[in-house]
């Protein structure tokens, strides 16, 4: 698909990014409860103990609602090993493509979303928060609708091996990840 050709392209956010970024300040990590809560445990099942996902969720999306339906996964990644782990990519049966994104401030003062160079690097024993308006795992080219209250599967490729998470899908009105390849903020520097 054309939107996955350029490794350096940036995905510009539509005006709705404002709503998305508003959440950043107020959305502190909830990782303090990680590993000690049954609700957390059942919401994300990891096939590897090295990297876990607490409070993970994927935004519900109707594939019929957009020409390029996409969504994102959020939550708190936790590196339970004594070594640094790098998350380098991902895949999902629900999406043609999975990318690791960050949200950065542009020269013009706006915010935009772009692939995170080098992936997510998570120090030994550390958490890495994925949330609207910040780092997140982008699911693009969705092959099926993801309905509120269902589950989907996302696999991350990491330096510690592949890890697959079963993640609940939730309706959410924020995180309007509109993909605008022709936006004026898409120029690379």
């Amino acid at each position: 698909m054309h939107h996955c050709l350029s490794a350096t392209r940036r995905v510009a956010l539509a005006a709705t990014l404002a709503a998305l970024t508003l959440g950043v300040a107020g959305c502190g990590t909830t990782s303090s409860t990680s590993g000690s809560d049954t609700a957390t445990a059942e919401s994300s099942v990891s096939s590897s103990a090295a990297l876990t996902l607490d409070d993970g969720w994927v935004k519900a999306v109707d594939v019929g609602s957009s020409d390029m339906p996409m969504t994102a996964m959020f939550g708190t990644l936790h590196n339970s090993t004594d070594s640094e782990i790098t998350v380098s990519g991902g895949s999902s049966p629900a999406a043609a493509e999975v990318e690791l994104h960050e949200v950065v401030r542009t020269d013009s003062g706006g915010m935009q979303m772009q692939p995170k160079a080098g992936g997510f690097v998570i120090a030994a024993g550390a958490d890495h928060t994925l949330q609207p308006g910040a780092d997140h795992v982008m699911l693009m080219g969705l092959t099926e609708s993801l309905t509120n209250g269902s589950e989907t599967s996302v696999t991350l490729q990491t330096s510690a091996g592949e890890v697959t998470f079963t993640v609940p899908v939730r309706t959410f009105t924020g995180a309007e990840e509109s993909y605008s390849p022709d936006s004026d903020s898409s120029s690379d520097s």
Binding site: L22, G23, G26, C27, G28, T30, T33, D37, T38, A39, E42, S43, D55, W57, A60, P132, T147, N148, G149, S150, P168, R170, T171, F172, T173, G174
Partner: protein
């Protein structure tokens, strides 16, 4: 005063029942506030100054706001606990075209969200988890109507339907009646109630739309000597079955009910408007006569304390019953052991002045509303002096799902 400190409340059994903490906690909170008040009243200016310069949190208030009720169990929370002072009753209708899968997904979302909120945590999508960080004894109780049960593939009990009409008194409005789903949200903090209600309704906005919301309150300082009073000034919710003991089968659906509902219950939510302008014209003796109880203590007009049974046969020197033949107490009195239910009422005061907009959200829990509640309501509809000042404007019946045990989704047994 020597009135019982437990009147009008379900009596939690001893042991591990978390509900047992309710009245005790309230008492602690109350005494803490009273203590603070006494200090000020004593003119202890120095003490007040010290208090301000040393802003340490009051341990009793901290305990009250951090209290988290358990979500998992045989029964849902929000029934046995002493009702906290703030509540919202939210009825929703399933979206058009909702199917079995949609019902299951909705209950999946609510199960996870409610468990998190009751534990003082934000929901998965919550960008304002700080508003969830004060659980304040939050309970969320989910009820379902016949459409939900049918879509899930279970058989609804006969009583899961609108109550029979009471044409003598009912002035029901659709805006306050019926619904496919009910959320009863209760807490010691109105902010907690508002946040939980908001998150739970938006979380399923694609699956169900809000039909009506009724917000209510009770006396925040309820406790020994400070009973729940409705806005007519009457001590309310006095007669209660022993639902944690001998009368448990009056509350919970047992083996004679549908398998999917065992451990569940039913709830009747009726919005009772009060004609306060008319009530203002009534003297206190007439008010007490209308209810059959003293306004000050809540004791029957035949004497004793609030916990004393009324002497319905007592007559005055002229031979008339002391408890008026049309008094609310007499008409509501159970004529058979099964005509009892758990009252959990809240006042509302949503008006813009005048006498519209105040009343009572009457809430009754019972295993079978038609068998237990309807006979009483029928007698009240036929004759009750209080009908002069009250008018039912809303009515709804829901099946209260059994509790979700570990690993279960609320209502899971409906899909079996």
């Amino acid at each position: 005063m020597t009135a019982s400190n437990t009147h009008g409340r379900p009596q939690p059994a001893g042991g591990p029942d978390p509900a047992a903490a309710g009245p005790r906690r309230r008492t602690v909170l109350l005494s803490g506030l009273l203590g603070a008040g006494a200090g000020v009243a004593a003119g202890a200016g120095a003490a007040v100054a010290v208090e301000r310069s040393r802003p340490e949190p009051d341990a009793r208030l901290v305990a009250a706001r951090t209290t988290a009720r358990p979500f998992r169990g045989t029964h849902q929370a929000g029934v046995l606990e002493a009702p906290p002072p703030y509540a919202a009753f939210v009825a929703l209708d399933l979206a058009d075209g909702a199917d079995r899968d949609a019902v299951r997904r909705l209950l999946t979302v609510w199960t996870d969200d409610i468990e998190r909120l009751m534990a003082g945590r934000g929901t998965l999508t919550d960008l304002e988890p700080e508003l969830a960080a004060v659980p304040a004894s939050l309970t969320v109780t989910v009820g379902v109507g016949p459409r939900v049960v049918g879509l899930a593939g279970a058989e609804a009990p006969d009583w899961l339907a609108p109550l029979p009409a009471f044409p003598q008194i009912d002035r029901l409005e659709d805006a306050w009646s019926d619904g496919d789903l009910l959320l009863q949200v209760c807490a010691d903090s109105p902010t907690t109630v508002a946040h939980a209600g908001r998150r739970l309704t938006t979380a399923v906005a694609d699956l169900a739309t809000v039909r009506w919301v009724q917000r209510g309150f009770r006396e925040p300082f309820e406790g020994p000597g400070v009973p729940m009073r409705n806005l007519l000034g009457q001590v309310d919710g006095t007669v209660q079955p022993d639902v944690t003991g001998l009368d448990a089968d009056l509350l919970w659906v047992g083996d004679d009910g549908p398998a999917w509902l065992r451990g569940g219950s039913s709830v009747v939510v009726r919005r009772i408007g009060m004609r306060l302008d008319d009530w203002d014209r009534v003297d206190r003796a007439s008010r007490e006569n209308a209810v059959g109880r003293r306004l000050d203590t809540g004791a029957p007009v035949t004497g004793g304390t609030i916990d004393t049974a009324a002497d319905l046969d007592a007559t005055d020197e002229l031979g008339f019953h002391v408890v008026d033949d049309a008094a609310h107490l007499r008409r509501a009195h159970a004529t058979a052991p099964h005509e009892r239910f758990l009252r959990r009422p809240y006042s509302y005061d949503d008006g813009q002045g005048g006498d519209a907009g105040s009343g009572l959200v009457f809430v009754a829990y019972q295993a079978d509303p038609v068998r237990q509640f309807v006979p009483v309501q029928q007698r009240l509809a036929e004759m009750d002096l209080l009908n002069l000042w009250t008018v039912p404007v809303g009515s709804a019946v829901f099946a209260v799902l059994p509790g979700a045990r570990d690993g279960e989704v609320l209502g899971e047994a409906m899909f079996a």
